[in-house]
Amino acid sequence: MKPLTHLQKLEAEAIFILREVAATCEKPVLLYSIGKDSAVLLHLAMKAFAPGKLPFPLLHVDTGWKFREMIEFRDATAKRLGLDLLVHINPEGLAQGIGPQSHGSAVHTDVMKTQGLKQALDKFGFDAAFGGARRDEEKSRAKERVFSLRTPDHRWDPKAQRPEPWALFNTRKAKGESFRVFPLSNWTEADVWDYIAQENIPVVPLYFAKPRPVVVRNGALILRDDERFTLLPGETIETRMVRFRTLGCYPLTGAVESEAATLPGILAEMRASRVSERQGRIIDADGASSMEKKKQEGYF
């Protein structure tokens, strides 16, 4: 028997985690954020339970500010695979017209993402939520467990994390507590792309370079996805060959200039890259412990 390769080991580990949750939690859900990590997570989940259907629904916490191509891709994916897709958008936030431009990235992220997520989890009574986060993304994530226990208020206590020896996940929890579960914990950005290429997994076309209308703001290249994005005096829209390394709310996600219009192009570019993918994320930048704080408050 040939020893498993690096990617086969990561694949088997993720499938093990997915099955462990389905077998021991009452009402799991897969947090589907439409990006490449979610695409890989969904693909692994389909494999874990094949030939059966997914034993849990997908949940997308929308903010109203996602790229239009993301929403189209989400709906097409759900239809193609026959998935049970739930979409939640914070109704109060929507009524108040919360947006990244009018209220700033911190308020927008807190109300539409963190609060929206908590509302959705409470509304449906989910006790375990899969996320596509990886430990190589950010320093505080490097310390998070595969099974991250959250209080009934969804808070994370980094100092009271459970020991996680071998693959003996302690899936017991008190009433009201829940888990965030990260099957891709040990994957890197390179692993994700290698796996997408190996398995031919469809991803949102925004990951591939093409001429797009962008505005340069605070050094970031922002794609003007709709009319709500107002230009400041002196700003102009120019067409540049760009792609995205991560996807989120379009006014908060910077594009990178790139010629990589195909998967091999992306793989080559990524191996040569000297900038981490989260650089395009405007919400990580406020303070060294920004992500850790958001996570404590209940952000994914």
Binding site: A12, T24, Q161, L168, V275
Partner: protein, 544 residues
């Protein structure tokens, strides 16, 4: 942002040149831990490895520059430890609290490094990091030599079954790159090795801060001709010494429709092909493999580490927590090394839950044989195991489960003890032996073709799976004594030897048969009354 130490080797800094990366299909994976005492420089060493393998991105280097100015301990030089100390409390206190996992790679290998804490109060986190490691890098500060923590960590690394160890003697720059210091520490450590069961032990003199012998040979230590740490990590071949028997703990029963009934799990050891016969434990029912579904579709074979779904030739009852094996038997008693994880001590007699493989059931310590002094590795009597203490204990398990010696199969030889009231894991453990090992030939073998007598005897309660030989003999002699008494009474009442012998024989044979029938009827009755409870919930608590 490149200063002093980093400028010394400009070719390893951020340049356009990137190490060529082969097709990922051929790449192997090595998981290792770095451990050592406080301030031995573990985080710095890992930061250095990330730096030297071009795994630090420009924006992270910028953040590092900012953090170094705020929290750094290295003056104007970037503090590489800050690359890995992720929590705010860690950066402020300059210590590592929790296991941090780091990812980097070279042309041939991908690495997952667990940076584990040195402080004694976080020993459990160190054990966690070691549990998935193929290899351990134990740091020793050249100025301090062997410390209590060095012995402790070596002991835990050994208990967790890591067999390949690299002793990194760090901070050589602070002892003037002195060979005598290195040799003395090497000799001291070699004196410790017997009893730890390591297969290979390498010694590397290095300076994580200056980069000597981390990624390339040091000009400062011409007396050392061995490989650098990175070269060692790239080339080391590790082995766990596990056996090759087929074992599959069942995680999930996949039943999408009436035609398909699959059993999903990750193969713990060995290999399987369609047509192979298997035994499901603890039930002992047998069947043959019909199909093997892997993540890449139907396969003609699958081996250890593969996440599979199997279908069987016969409809037999299997649920989560069961184990499919080529041969073997379930047990209700294991003797295991334990490491206490929680503030609450582990005490004999207290009801716990044991998680072993995918099985969860009740368990208690029936004997705490001794605690192990991790400083001189001696055994001494103990009434309980306080946090971070190591000991050897025998566990009684409520319902029979399949377990192996940890040395034979890590997945089915490792366990977690959980307090059912707080849901806290109180101990992790590695199985030294099971009652099934001890009574291998003497108790009923739940293997393919177990005898009808065996099954009746089992059902009649004469033989309990996993019971020791003494327990079985005890039950049988009691059965005979009861029959003799019954025959004696019959003789006294009737005066007929024939009737007495007949009555005695009937009692000996028919009573167990009646018990089987009686139990069956009760089971049927219970099944009708409690039908809504799925078996998985009964075993696992359903995650409640």
């Amino acid at each position: 942002m490149r200063t002093a130490a980093l400028q010394r080797q400009p070719e390893t800094g951020f340049g356009p040149a990137v190490a060529p990366v082969p097709a990922p299909a051929s790449k192997s994976l090595l998981r290792f831990i770095t451990c050592g005492s406080v301030d031995d420089g573990k985080s710095t060493l890992l930061g250095r490895l990330l730096w030297e393998t071009h795994s630090v991105f420009e924006d992270q280097a910028e953040a590092l520059a900012n953090d170094s100015r705020r929290f750094g301990t290295t003056g104007d030089t970037p503090d590489l430890a800050l690359l890995v100390d992720g929590l705010a409390a860690e950066r402020e206190q300059g210590i590592t609290i929790d296991v941090a996992y780091r990812y980097f790679g070279t042309a041939n290998r991908a690495f997952i490094a667990a940076d584990t804490p040195g402080h004694e109060q976080y020993t459990r986190n160190m054990a966690t990091g070691a549990s998935t490691a193929d290899c351990a890098v134990i740091l020793i500060d050249a100025r301090k030599g062997l410390l209590a923590q060095t012995r402790r960590h070596s002991c835990i690394v050994s208990m967790i079954g890591v067999r390949d160890v690299i002793i990194a003697i760090n901070k050589m720059d602070l002892v003037g790159y002195d060979e005598a210091t290195f040799r003395r520490i090497e000799a001291d450590y070699r004196a410790l090795i017997p009893g730890l069961g390591f297969t290979t032990v390498h010694f590397v003199p290095l300076s994580a801060r200056e980069g000597d012998n981390v990624a390339k040979a040091s000009a400062m230590m011409p007396w050392y001709s061995g490989p650098s740490l990175l070269t060692l990590l790239e080339t080391i071949e590790t082995s766990t010494g596990e056996d090759a028997k087929f074992r599959l703990p069942i995680q999930w029963v996949n039943r999408p429709n009436a035609e398909f009934r699959g059993f999903s799990g990750t193969i713990a050891s060995g290999e399987i092909c369609p047509g192979d016969s298997i035994v499901a434990l603890p039930s002992g029912r047998t069947s043959r493999i019909a199909r093997i579904l892997t993540p890449s579709g139907d396969a003609q074979s699958a081996g250890a580490g593969a996440a599979v779904t199997l279908t069987l030739a016969d409809e037999i009852d299997i649920s989560r927590g069961d184990v499919l094996v080529a041969s073997g038997q379930a047990t209700r008693r294991v003797t295991a090394r334990l490491l206490a994880l929680s503030e609450t001590a582990v005490v004999p007699g207290k009801p716990y839950l044991i998680k072993l493989g995918t099985a969860v059931t009740g368990a208690r310590l029936i004997a705490l044989h001794h605690a192990i002094d991790v400083h001189d590795y001696t055994e001494r009597p103990a009434a309980e195991l306080a946090m971070n203490a190591l000991g050897l204990a025998t566990l009684h398990i409520e319902t029979p489960i399949y377990a192996t010696r940890y040395a034979d199969c890590r997945t089915l030889g490792s366990l977690l003890l959980i307090d059912p009231l707080t849901n806290e894991a109180v101990a992790l453990g590695t199985v030294e032996h099971t009652a099934a090992d001890a009574g291998d030939k003497k108790t009923v073998q739940a293997r393919a073709g177990a005898t009808a007598f065996g099954r009746i005897a089992l059902a009649a309660g004469l033989i309990v799976p996993g019971a020791s030989r003494d327990e079985v003999m005890h039950r049988i002699s009691w059965r005979i004594a009861s029959a003799l008494l019954f025959a004696g009474l019959a003789l006294a009442v009737t005066g007929s030897v024939t009737i007495a012998l007949g009555a005695g024989f009937a009692d000996l044979v028919l009573r167990p048969a009646l018990r089987v029938l009686h139990d069956r009827l009760w089971q049927l009755g219970l099944a009708t009354r409690h039908r809504p409870v799925p078996p998985a919930l009964g075993i696992d608590g359903g995650g409640i």
